[in-house]
Amino acid sequence: GAGVSQSPSNKVTEKGKDVELRCDPISGHTALYWYRQSLGQGLEFLIYFQGNSAPDKSGLPSDRFSAERTGGSVSTLTIQRTQQEDSAVYLCASSTTGGWVNQPQHFGDGTRLSIL
């Protein structure tokens, strides 16, 4: 596909359940980022993958959050034992490179997560 693809587009689950969100970056993009936007807030950084390097997890809000990127392409963000404060839109972005070269990040349409 031409752009960043995220699935599902919407997810409603009960408090305490685990959820998995998926991101397919733009083909050839080596850098992948996860952000989230809570209601009425700006976007906040969660985690960053660059090639085969260890991910930058500095934005993950708690140890219930984890992410992986398999084969340098698709990424999944997992939230365990979900809480109501996890309700937000989770956005994935990719770029041709991260680190020292300035390149714009291109975003998917996000997954709207609602915890009941």
Binding site: Y35, G42, D56, G99, N102, P104, Q105, F107
Partner: protein, 113 residues
């Protein structure tokens, strides 16, 4: 600690006129600045960017100005069109921060016919 601030939550402009959206930042390590446009239920769409070595970048109807001494940037849209109505986010990053974007809170721009 809000490192990137958009102090105007909303802006209303008449079609054909100039729209000016403002953004301030506090972190002097930021060296790359971007503007994104967001429609409801869609992800942010990249509009235009500027590196800290420049003070102006122009792309069609969109121009971004950077004033490093004031830690201020602005996005000018001229002429404004109804399709420009959206939420605009300012974002900043630094090479030392691995290009993680720090976003402002957004400004909702409404273009009136």
């Amino acid at each position: 600690d809000q490192q990137v601030k958009q102090n105007s939550p909303s802006l209303s402009v008449q079609e054909g006129r100039i729209s000016i959206l403002n953004c301030d930042y506090t972190n002097s390590m930021f060296d790359y600045f971007l503007w994104y446009k967001k429609y409801p239920a869609e992800g942010p769409t990249f509009l235009i960017s500027i590196s800290s070595i420049k003070d102006k970048n122009e792309d069609g109807r969109f121009t971004v100005f950077l004033n490093k001494s004031a830690k201020h940037l602005s996005l000018h849209i001229v002429p404004s069109q109804p399709g420009d109505s959206a939420v605009y986010f300012c974002a900043a990053s630094s090479a030392q921060g691995a290009q993680k974007l720090v976003f402002g809170q957004g400004t909702r721009l409404t273009i009136n016919p």
